[in-house]
């Protein structure tokens, strides 16, 4: 947002009530809601509303954000019960309000709207999300060939911004934090399906807490703002893993 005072001066007098979940470790036993009145501006995203609160009303409110264009993945929160990117969700979608903003479900809350995602990062590395090659590293004179069709085969799964809305939407993950979860599996598939990759992630994917933990609720896909379709990635790998298990000689 460019400039709050400017914009607010031009504003209509309409406001919207925003109920924000507040939690300060050591001070609060559990989160409580705090209410704020925020100008209801046509162009304002929920994130602009939060910034208005932080800049004008209460500097102690904590939340994460950065790019404000839906690509850094840091501003995911629960807005009126649904996991959303707050920079891409507009206050005007909620009519007269109130809008209720909570931290993403399924993660421990560090403070206010900030959740702990270290566990996800560990999961992300566990699937070996890098291009695995065998043999000598070729000289840096030519690229590996990859046709547009081969690119298309994994492209969708490479669009994940790690916003974690899918984890928050998945009841399996919310009940069982050990579940490897949608984005990490989709990322494993992103590399599995890359024509340049020679790796194999069967050992980390063919586990009860991995693809087999998913009961295909499908909400991960509905929540995903980048159309990664992690639900599909998981089901596809289930088929791959099942076939590989019955036909031991079939790889991939």
């Amino acid at each position: 947002m460019t400039d709050t005072t400017e914009a607010v001066r031009r504003a209509s007098t309409r406001t919207i009530r925003v109920e924000v979940s507040r939690y300060r470790p050591g001070e609060d036993a559990e989160p409580v809601f705090q209410e704020y009145e925020v100008p209801l501006m046509a162009d304002w995203a929920v994130l602009d509303g939060l910034n208005y609160i932080k800049d004008r009303l209460d500097g102690s409110l904590s939340f994460r954000w950065s790019c404000r264009m839906g690509v850094c993945g840091s501003c995911g929160m629960n807005v009126n019960g649904e996991p959303r990117l707050t920079c891409g969700t507009f206050l005007s979608e909620y009519g007269e309000g109130p809008v209720r903003i909570e931290p993403l479900k399924g993660f421990p809350v560090i403070r206010d709207l900030v959740v702990d995602i270290d566990d996800f990062l560990a999961k992300l590395s566990s699937v070996r999300p890098w291009l695995i090659r065998e043999g000598e590293e070729p000289p840096l004179t030519a690229e590996y060939a990859q046709t547009p069709e081969q690119l298309e085969a994994y492209k969708q799964y490479s669009m994940c911004i790690n916003c974690l809305l899918c984890y928050s939407a998945c009841p399996v993950y919310v009940l069982d934090p050990d579940f490897l979860g949608p984005a990490a599996i989709a990322l494993a598939q992103r590399y599995n399906l890359d024509s340049r990759d020679m790796g194999d992630r069967f050992d980390v994917l063919n586990l009860e807490d991995s693809v087999w933990g998913c009961t295909f609720v499908g909400e991960c896909t509905s929540a995903c703002p980048k159309h990664v379709d992690p639900a599909e990635a998981i089901q596809r790998y289930k088929l791959t893993a099942a076939l590989r298990s019955v036909l031991p000689w079939s790889r991939r």
Binding site: G26, S62, S66, C72, S74, L124, L131, E143, D194
Partner: protein
């Protein structure tokens, strides 16, 4: 003891980390970043990365485009190194899995870009930076020994006796302030677009690294050169990538007229012509907008005057294939569809050509301190960066800085932790704890920030004038003092973002003052620096970098440093005439 401590987990920082891990696995490498690395602002780069690969293109041409684009203020030895290493870096990224867009035969595809005479911009649709950053981040996960300090904010470099000894940083989550001793420090903290009110830059781009180095006595270079990108969405400042014009988009004014033809940028052709019209350099395009506005040929909106970017003639399928993100952004943030509607755009502060003064290996004048990426000024961008040169720059110089730091760490091993270091760390901790303990009851951080941003936009925008700049010097100095007393509501130790915002404000004020000081000192017009009171380029005096040091009283003191010219003597910048 860390051997190479990298501040910043963006493209430059991660590339440096891998370079160290690959050259010498025995060295201890750490990456400290105030956001999780994949949130760094490299993620939002859209258009592409330039490097010569295609037949019919040559390194010399890329050099020439870069140097003339930079209005001859680039160091030509640096440009030559950059241009010759860029292809290797992009191929390396490919080997690490970057999903570059492809030709039908499987080769990497390239697209035209502003100010470039040949098609040499590699792209991954229009999310190049996103794919580049995630590829780098995921590749770093392979190196188990690189230590990550995620969401740690560096507040101070520990420098003693002209040599860096580490950093002081806050763990944002717990509020703990810690001194991290290190043999070398690489600053890769990105740009400082947030000193302007209207910018494409993310919230985190507050110039921290520049301020860290500057406070410890390292000079900043060419800080007056701020790039305005001609096509930002009004209100949000979200960037509509230059690739939209490279794919054939037109800029039109309120009469539907392709106005760039009036500004010595060539004549309109139905399909894009390299180095002409919409594919001219950004400084010239943004300046043309200001003139259109003066002629009353822009359209007024609640968020200021705009012109239009017209993509309708490209058709839905081309838009979806080449620039899908542009469509996605227009739909969600502007409520329009570029396949059928005009996109309102206006120039927006985008990129800092200046930065921490370094040599060609990223070394700063402080021993053991290196810098790379947007935070550094090597300089290959001169007075105006060409679009798609920055991503290869962060790779080429990220790697170089990493290797140089590794070499330095090896040759300076075995050094004990000095007591001065501990003392500095303790002082810094006390300072931060005082601020957090409810210190300061003055103005709100946001108010001070807005004042600073407006001062800077008024004084150091697309056009600058001596008298306004002079006034801004005082305003900013005053704001700097008031910021010391800024009000802090949040006294919590856990994830105290207000404490961080205040540190960022201090950094930005420091940077803002250098921008204004350098702009005031340069009495000529060159590239992105246009003075209404000195309209001509003056190679006699100013074919030189500005070098700004922090005086003991905190004010910036500006000097000049000659530009390195190797094979391309200064000439006229010609676009659209050949």
């Amino acid at each position: 003891m860390i051997d190479v401590l990298i501040v910043g987990g963006g493209g430059a920082g991660l590339r440096a980390a891998i370079a160290v891990a690959e050259t010498d696995p025995s060295l201890r490498v750490a990456v400290v970043s105030k956001v999780y690395p994949m949130r760094s602002h490299t993620v939002s780069a859209e258009g592409g990365a330039a490097a010569v690969i295609g037949a019919g293109d040559t390194l010399d041409e890329h050099c020439y485009d870069t140097i003339s684009g930079g209005d001859w203020l680039c160091d030509q030895d640096a440009v030559e190194a950059f241009v010759s290493e860029a292809p290797k870096e992009l191929i390396q990224l490919e080997h690490w899995g970057c999903p570059w867009s492809r030709e039908s035969d499987g080769r990497v595809a390239v697209r035209p870009f502003g100010g470039m005479k040949k098609m040499r911009t590699w792209y991954a649709a229009d999310k190049t930076g996103f794919h580049l950053l995630h590829t780098l981040f995921q590749t770093t996960l392979k190196y188990q020994d690189i230590i990550r300090y995620d969401e740690w904010y560096v507040t101070k470099l520990v420098v003693d006796d002209g040599r860096v000894h580490g950093v002081v940083a806050v763990e944002i989550r717990t509020g703990r302030v810690e001194t991290i001793p290190a043999r070398t420090v690489v600053l890769a903290t990105g740009g400082c677009g947030k000193v302007f009110p209207f910018t494409t830059n993310a919230a985190i781009k507050t110039g921290d690294g520049m301020a860290l180095a500057y406070r410890e006595g390292a000079p900043l270079k060419d800080m007056e050169f701020v790039q305005y990108h001609p096509t930002g969405l009004p209100f949000t400042g979200i960037l509509i990538t230059e690739a939209a014009r490279a794919e054939g988009g037109w800029l039109i004014n309120k009469d539907g007229y392709r106005y760039l033809q009036d500004y010595d940028l060539g004549s309109p052709t139905p399909t894009p012509k390299l180095r002409s019209m919409e594919l001219g350099p950004r400084d010239r395009l943004s300046q043309a907008f200001v003139h259109e506005q003066e002629k009353g040929r822009t359209v007024d909106t609640p968020y200021g005057p705009v012109v239009y970017l017209d993509l309708r003639h490209l058709g839905e399928s081309k838009i979806d294939a080449r620039i899908p993100f542009v469509r996605e952004l227009c739909r969600s943030y502007q409520n329009l569809d570029p396949a059928t509607d005009l996109i309102p755009v206006r120039p927006v502060a985008h990129y800092m050509m200046g930065g921490v003064h370094t040599d060609i290996d990223g070394a700063t004048p402080i021993a053991g301190l290196f810098a790379a990426g947007e935070t550094a000024c090597v300089s290959i961008n001169g007075a105006n960066r060409l679009g798609s040169n920055s991503l290869p720059e962060i790779l080429v110089f990220g790697r170089r800085a990493g290797i140089a730091a590794a070499a330095f760490a090896r040759s300076h091993a075995g050094q004990a932790e000095a007591s001065a270091v501990r003392a500095q760390g303790a002082d810094e901790r006390r300072r931060l704890e005082r601020v957090r303990g409810g210190g300061g009851h003055g103005e709100r951080i946001a108010d001070l920030r807005e004042r600073m941003q407006h001062t800077l936009e008024g004084a150091a925008g697309i056009y600058r004038a001596g008298d306004v700049l002079t006034k801004a010097v005082d305003t900013l100095a005053d704001l700097g003092e008031r910021a010391q007393e800024a009000r802090v509501d949040d006294s919590s130790t856990a994830f105290n973002t207000e404490l961080i915002s205040l540190q960022e404000l201090h950094a930005m004020l420091e940077i803002a003052r250098t921008v204004v000081a350098c702009a005031l000192n340069r009495q000529e017009s060159r590239g992105a620096h246009q003075r209404t009171d000195f309209t001509a380029r003056d190679d006699e005096t100013y074919l030189a970098h500005s070098l700004v040091h922090r005086a003991p009283d905190g004010s910036p003191s500006v000097g000049l440093l000659p530009v390195t010219i190797t094979r391309w003597p200064p000439g006229e910048r010609v676009y659209g005439r050949d």
